[in-house]
């Protein structure tokens, strides 16, 4: 071995607690994020076996998945959802876990508030019972989603027994053209390598185009890693990262900050370190993308067309036919001719302040099409307040968008925000699976600018030709 290590290997090595012979290595977890949907059975498991939460201070909870985005204080009419929220509140009280509850000024989508509060830091291991935990990799933290049994495991031991994943580098050269965003890069990558293209791997995103992204753009990119099947996504920390973290509530201070900074600077992949796989991309070749099918790899340029299944291999053909049938789309239809009924701007992928600024810039001076219902759901209360300070909410309201409270909302439709059967939605979220946003609903994934433009035009339209006002 050369002794040269990747960012992933450095984090992995630093968190190895034990490597028992013939068993999976035991890895320490620095931060465990918890939400209402995937945790109740884990807390029940602790109670049943008489165990405690080993490190309550390293465990942070919020409610996001099934809460309404109506004004706070509205009674939750879904009694099963209310019971699940109450269970999290009771569990946090019983086990001494810090909870950012519905009425907290810091409540929000778990993957939005972690970074926002400075909880997410370079070099950490972070887990959550949610697949989009990969978001936190934007800081050069090894962050991945786990199931409820593993949630219980981390609560009880602050560790996980994990097989070491493989490494993949995605090297994105060049610069984005105007109108092309981190979301389009993510969709472009998944379109190229497929929804299982990175299974078993931790991706490190590198190259000029990735370095040029803001922290929020990096979060969008890492967020979608799971949609390529990856265990996690990473971006090496740099000055952009440090500037973002500095001064946030849970960030290190004073001498701790200096010590942290010194260790973070040693994290980036050593020159000449090996990856199991390398994928190269050219940012200049990317364009605004729109998904046409029922997984995030079924993607076309906004200037393109719905594919012809006849031109594909046997197994792709069948999957494409099923997808087009569900999506009610004709092969060869131009993407820009697809009309939408609903627009959703939100989710852990695209609900941060820069996303809202980008969408508001498109919406300013325009009005949502008369046949479209469009909603903007900020990722957190903090994002919401920031947007309101800047007057973004007024731009959206004037343009006919709904301005709502923070939560996961229509990304997965566990709360009342869902599509009706047959409705077609331009969505800034991360999954276009059948029924994801509501049974029979048809989801097209796009960037925030593309979603805002679709709301106004009533159909998909190339943001590169937009008349900004």
């Amino acid at each position: 071995m050369s002794g040269k290590r990747t960012l992933f290997e450095k984090i992995w090595d630093a968190h190895l607690v034990a490597e028992p012979g013939g068993r999976s290595p035991i890895v320490y977890i620095d931060l465990h994020l918890v939400h209402e949907v995937t945790s109740p059975q884990a807390f029940d498991g602790l109670r049943a076996s008489g165990r405690k939460v080993r490190q309550p201070l390293r465990t942070i909870a919020t409610v996001d998945h099934n809460i309404p985005t109506e004004p706070r204080g509205t009674v939750i009419t879904d009694l099963v959802a209310a019971k699940q929220i109450a269970a999290l509140q009771a569990n946090c009280r019983e086990f001494g876990v810090r909870l950012f509850d519905m009425d907290s000024p810091d409540q929000g989508i778990v993957h939005v508030i972690g970074p926002e509060l400075g909880l997410t830091q370079p070099g950490m291991t972070i887990v959550c019972g949610d697949s989009h935990t990969s978001t936190h990799g934007a800081f050069g933290a090894l962050a991945f989603g786990i199931g409820t049994s593993e949630v219980e495991h981390v609560l009880a031991t602050q560790c996980l027994a994990q097989q070491k994943p493989k490494t993949m580098k995605i090297d994105v050269r060049g610069r984005f053209a105007e109108g092309v965003t981190a979301k389009d890069l993510a969709l472009g990558i998944i379109g190229q390598i497929g929804t299982d293209g990175a299974t078993g791997h931790v991706i490190e995103y590198a190259g000029e185009a990735v370095r040029a992204l803001s922290m929020e753009g990096r979060m969008t990119l890492c967020n979608m890693s799971i949609e390529a099947g990856a265990r996690a996504g990473l971006v090496a920390p740099d000055e952009v990262t440090f500037a973002y973290v500095k001064g946030r509530r849970f960030a290190p201070r004073d001498s701790e900050w200096e010590r942290s900074l010194e260790s973070w600077r040693g994290l980036p992949t050593d020159h000449g370190a090996n990856f199991d796989r390398i994928v190269e991309m050219d940012a200049a070749q990317l364009c605004p993308f729109v998904t046409w099918g029922t997984n995030p790899g079924m993607v076309a340029p906004v200037t393109g067309r719905v594919p012809e299944p006849g031109s594909l291999s046997e197994s792709d053909r069948r999957a494409t036919e099923l997808a087009l049938q569900y999506m009610d789309l004709q092969p060869g239809k131009r993407i820009e001719e697809i009309d939408v009924d609903r627009v959703f701007i939100g989710s852990c992928t695209n609900s941060r302040i820069e996303d809202l600024r980008a969408a508001a810039r498109v919406a300013r001076g325009h009005h949502v099409s008369g046949k479209v219902r469009a909603m903007v759901v900020p990722g957190s209360q903090t994002v919401k307040r920031a947007a309101e300070r800047e007057g973004l909410h007024q731009i959206f309201l004037d343009a006919g968008f709904e301005w709502r409270e923070s939560g996961c909302s229509m990304c997965l439709g566990m709360n009342p925000d869902i599509l009706q059967p047959g409705e077609r939605c331009a969505s800034t979220s991360n999954r276009n699976f059948e029924g994801r946003q509501g049974r029979g609903g048809r989801t097209h994934l796009v960037s925030p600018m593309m979603a805002a433009a679709a709301a106004i035009a009533g159909h998909f339209t190339d943001i590169r030709n937009w008349k900004f006002q």
Partner: protein, 205 residues
């Protein structure tokens, strides 16, 4: 955890690739706070129409597959959301194993924790099993975890890969929290070297 050594059962073919966990167990059923009772909601949107009537065309509900306990499906099974409810629903419905040419990582991890087998065969092997399950009546296979092998009575026999430790836990039905806690001394030593950062300490009042 229920030990898994060997299982023989009827095979049902689900001829779809990229079966995601939103399909396996739609989100409206994730609000339950129990670990049980999810089987009735398995593949809900495919098995039932919007008004709750059973869709007789869906393969799981064909009478010939009624007692199936092994599902064979296309590649990238269990992709998407981390919801362990997907495994709970499959197991509660009566399945002991899924056979596919690939699985999403989190789904595969969740399976192990529930004594449920995610068996990875080559693509041509899963296609052959799918064909046999479609064309033959009462088509059964035996999955043997000690030999890491799937075989039928007609000469089909294929080996599958499985991490040695995972296999050991499955065969003996071991609780892996207990196993990790055997390393209490190492965990405590790690924690002594890496104390909780002061920023996470409760604010003193």
């Amino acid at each position: 955890m229920k030990p898994f050594r060997e299982h023989r059962g009827l095979v049902v073919p689900l001829d779809r690739v990229n079966v995601d966990t939103d399909q396996i167990i739609p989100k409206q059923f994730l609000k339950r706070i129990e670990r049980t009772g999810f089987g009735q909601f398995l593949f809900y949107d495919w098995r039932f129409s919007a008004d709750g009537k059973k869709n007789a065309d869906f393969v799981l509900d064909e009478p010939r597959y009624e007692h199936a306990s092994i599902l064979v499906a296309g590649k990238n099974f269990g992709c998407g959301s981390s919801r362990e409810h997907a495994v709970w629903a499959l197991a509660d419905f009566g399945f002991r194993a899924v056979i596919s040419s690939s699985f999403a990582d989190i789904f595969a991890n969740n399976s192990v924790k529930n004594g449920f087998l995610a068996v990875r065969l080559e693509e041509d092997e899963t296609e052959e099993l799918m064909r046999r399950a479609r064309e033959l009546n009462e088509y059964e296979v035996t999955i043997n975890l000690e030999r890491c092998e799937v075989r039928d009575d007609l000469g089909f026999c294929a080996k599958f890969p499985m991490d040695e430790f995972v296999r050991h836990c499955l065969i003996h039905g071991l609780d892996d929290i207990g196993l990790t806690l055997q390393h209490e001394a190492e965990i405590a030593a790690y924690e002594a070297r890496h104390p909780v950062p002061s920023a996470l300490q409760p604010v003193q009042t």
